[in-house]
Amino acid sequence: MVEQVSRLDAGGRVDRVQKLAFKFNGRSYTGYAGDTLASALMANGVSVVGRSFKYHRPRGIMSAGAEETNAFVQILGSEEEPNVPATTLPLVKGLDAHSVNAWPSVNFDVGRVTDLLHRFFPAGFYYKTFMWPRDRWDWYGQFIRRVAGWGTAPKTAAGKRYEHRYHHCDVLIVGGGPAGLAAALSAGRSGARVLLVDNQSEFGGYLLGSSAEINAKPAMSWITDVVAELDGMPEVVCLSEASATGYYEQNFVTVLERRPDKRWVRERLWKVRARQVVLATGAIERPITFVDNDRPGIMLASAASTYCLRYGVRAGRKAALFTNNDGSYRHAIELADSGVDVAAIIDVRTNANADLCKTAAAKGIEVILGSHVARVIGKRRVRAIEIAASGTGAQRRKIACDLLLVSGGWNPTIHLHSQSGGKPLYDERLATFIPGASVQKEISAGACTGHFTLAQCLSDGLLAGRQVAESCGYPSDTIDAPTCTDETDLNLQPIWEVPLPHRHSRAFVDFNNDVTTKDIRLAEREGYRSIELAKRYTTAGMGLDQGKSGNVNIIGLMADITDTAPGAIGTTTYRPAYSPVSFGAMAGADNGDLIIPWRRTPITDWFIANGGHLDETGALFRRPLYIAKPGESARDAINREALAVRNGVGIYDGTPLGKISIKGSDAVTFLDRVYTNSWGKLPVGRSKFGFMLHDDGRLLDDGVTFRLADDHYLMSTGSGVAAVVLKHLEKLLHCEWPDLDVYLTPVSDQWAVICVCGPNAREVIRRAETDIDINPEAFKFLDTRYCRVAGIDARVSRVTYTGELSFEFVVPTRHGLNLWEALLEAGKEYDITPIGSDTSMLLRTEKAFIAAGLEGDGYANIYDVGMGWVVAKNKGDFIGKRSTSRDINLGGPRPEIVGLLPEDSNFVPPKGAPILESDTADTSPDASRNMVGMVTIGFHSPNLQRSIALAQVQDGRSRIGDTINVYTKSRVVSAQICEPVFFDPDGERMRD
């Protein structure tokens, strides 16, 4: 076990009583509660935490927050997750993580060879190299994928679950630093509903690692008081470890909470709709672009302060600071105060704040103005730096240090503002981008506006909180801003690139994707001057960190190269997510059995218990395709069921059928307009088949409609199109015919539908006992009657989908299972056979009953599918009439539905198989371009003891008796075109 060699003896906010054991790259370490993995690794003296993406250069911890660009790890174990920034990963007992981009180990990585050959791998290398030959792209892809690195997706389901939560509030405050807390206090006291989110494990923002004071006390004292007050407000919700990841239209913001309050929830994705949003997202320090600026031991100045003051960890034994602004002096001084030996401050400016220089000198820190870092010595850890005078490069001297702090200024975190539609503005004084005008109901406050002093942040936050609460109707008293430690202005001198000492030297502008200043220059030379194009060509800013710390340096460099102002270059587009969101969090509960909301009929459980092979068959219903006996194959089960219906009796659950109640004095007019046939003469107690067309004359749906009373009809629709048909009809009523006295009520789930079909159906009904006369003379085909059957009130109809004598019972859903079981019992003597939807489909194919969704392909019209008999010639207009007439008037060949009898009676033509002329010799896949039709459905018919199919064939009706070829991937089979009705062509059985 390695000791925490770099842990300071005292200080920090970690709980030194709670020692936590963890593993990194297989080695055991300890840290404390309150650590992040990064701070714990640093405490244990681990300097190389990973390898870079492209060149596999050793990399160390760069930051202390979400902007981390180097230290990504793969978490192992039950909560495996790739590419997690170690800087935001709270240390927990037993944490096991390893580096990414390294093989076989982070200390000996064979991928390092790419760094040695870096001159051959410039930006755009992939695009230029892996172009030829084209048929090798897949092979290249596999190779590149292996080399590319990053973590690996978990192969097993997460142990815990993910949760979504919708949340509405008056005020959403993003950021729990001084500005955000001040805004929350101000808005919270007004009584507004406030949601405060912060991506750190504690509220306080940068003050968690700062020596600043508020009201003459340590700043964290003020933070603690404010958080306690907020916690006591019933309408304020405070979430830590919660990142606002995306800002969308109408103040919709997604927030990813990483450690929710419920132990069984791994992550919770909040979907927040806020009336007002306060963005107090702070700012991110940016690095400086100089030679080998990516070496382990080089770190943002503020991060080193944070590790020291928040975590009690010394980031190095001897430090130096390389800066271009006054603000960073504070960090060098804080480190010195904590016992770190700070050798020097190297400042590119010559006009540093004199008071700060004196303070630093008093701490024993040498201040070297007008200089820059010219060389970094040490590959796996900085050992020393060489500095030189800015401008001349002369006066070189070496400074020994193992920690080089860098501060190139600050980038306000304007990502969410930009996502909300705001346009960033370039601030010359700060040499960075700040929020422009608000587009949505949003205010930025604090450091994210470029106000970098604590006093400004607090007053900004208090004001913003009050303003947004008032705009929501919650006036509040003004809160006086507390007094704060004096802070100096940044007085920054922008520096976008320190001159490189050698033509093969490299300075990184994007550590995450290994993009150097040379890559940006190359992009510019090759014409990618737009920052958006340069970004895509070089991949700068496209890594896991999305360029949080480096992007402004890239813009500044491009401005220098093109002799343009950075403001004129502009930013690239900020898109969600601000920080990575796991797929699990995106999916939430929508997985496993809940990924689709399976609908059930009252019979579904019976099918599950009795061998039903269920599948989604339309409108989210899970229906049995067939009901197999133990050991029975699918084909055998379907054959058995189909034979039973033709020779004995079957029973079928038709509940998923769509059902629409149509009531009103204009119901007949309505039906006449939406169906192709006439409805005026249909008496009460009778039903009729109808065909419904789209406006363009193509097939929409078909089904039977029953007349239940003078002004009451019940329309049946296909199961899968019930909602489509209802929407179609409602739209017509609302938009086209608002004058019609018609009301539609969807009643699909009101009724269970059970169909008894087959020659013995009547005997089964008699055995089940019914109170109506079901003899053929009294109860004819297409009649519908109210009755009692098996003691249950029902409506029974003589309608069929199988072509057999059928009785379709409709009962309230709650009685569905009772009736099903009663009919099964009554049919025992006749070996009544439950059938599934595949069997039903086979039986309808034998009868050539058209299915609009199969035989209709979006082109075929009602005549093409042989249903011209359903079109009334002598009635007024109906939907689709004009377009259907147009097809007829245009003439020419049409794709017509015919039957197919394959020459090989065991060959079942697959659905969609192309049909070509039999004299076509070409058997290549390209031959399908000459197709004259296609198979719409095919089956092996046990009743006909051979395979059959329905097909769409050009001019098919005039080609009965011709031979054509059916193409499949494996073979070509001849088939004879025949009449489509294979069984009982005169329909005598169903009319029996």
Partner: protein, 171 residues
């Protein structure tokens, strides 16, 4: 796993009538059933434990009545409505109800309902027809526990139940 403090329970079928029509229908309902139909969408008028009228839109109501009383209610309504344009349909089995109750019921419901269900906005007596998980539901907040009656299309009842159970951390 105990999950959220929320109990989930399927309720038996009850009477539901789907009423369509204009202002005259409101009068008819008031006359024959002593139930005033609410005038605004997403509001309800609760007469007693069994009789609740939900307004779906300006010409559409769902009237909850005691199970077994549907036919008598429909007949009364038909007589009262007379020749006025209307549609009354028994939809008692179209819907199935689930009761969600407990101090954390809102936290469970908020996982699948995008409307604001904060007690200031959606307190006792509030109702809305809205998206719920991947289906549609009529929500009704019936007490301050809080307790919600979630009414879904009956073919979705098992899905809604399974969804609620997992959302509540019970499975």
């Amino acid at each position: 796993m105990s999950g959220y403090d929320a109990n989930i329970e399927c309720l038996p079928f009850i009477g539901f009538l789907d009423l369509r029509g204009g202002e005259a229908i409101r009068l008819a309902c008031s006359e024959c059933l002593s139930v005033t139909l609410p005038a605004s969408a997403n509001t309800l008028i609760s007469v007693d434990d069994e009789r609740v009228a939900y307004c779906i839109s300006s010409d559409h109501w769902i009237l909850q009545v005691a199970d077994g009383s549907q036919q008598a209610a429909l007949q009364s309504l038909e007589i009262a409505a007379g020749d006025v344009s209307h549609s009354f349909v028994d939809v008692s089995d179209l819907y199935a109800r689930i009761r969600l109750s407990g101090t954390e019921a809102r936290a469970v419901l908020a996982q699948g309902v995008s409307i604001d269900i904060h007690p200031r906005v959606f307190g006792v007596g509030a109702t809305a027809r809205t998206g719920f998980a991947k289906t549609t539901a009529q929500l009704h907040c019936v007490d301050e526990t809080p307790t919600f009656i979630i009414t879904v299309f009956s073919s979705y009842q098992q899905y809604a139940l399974d969804w609620l159970q997992q959302a509540a951390g019970k499975t």
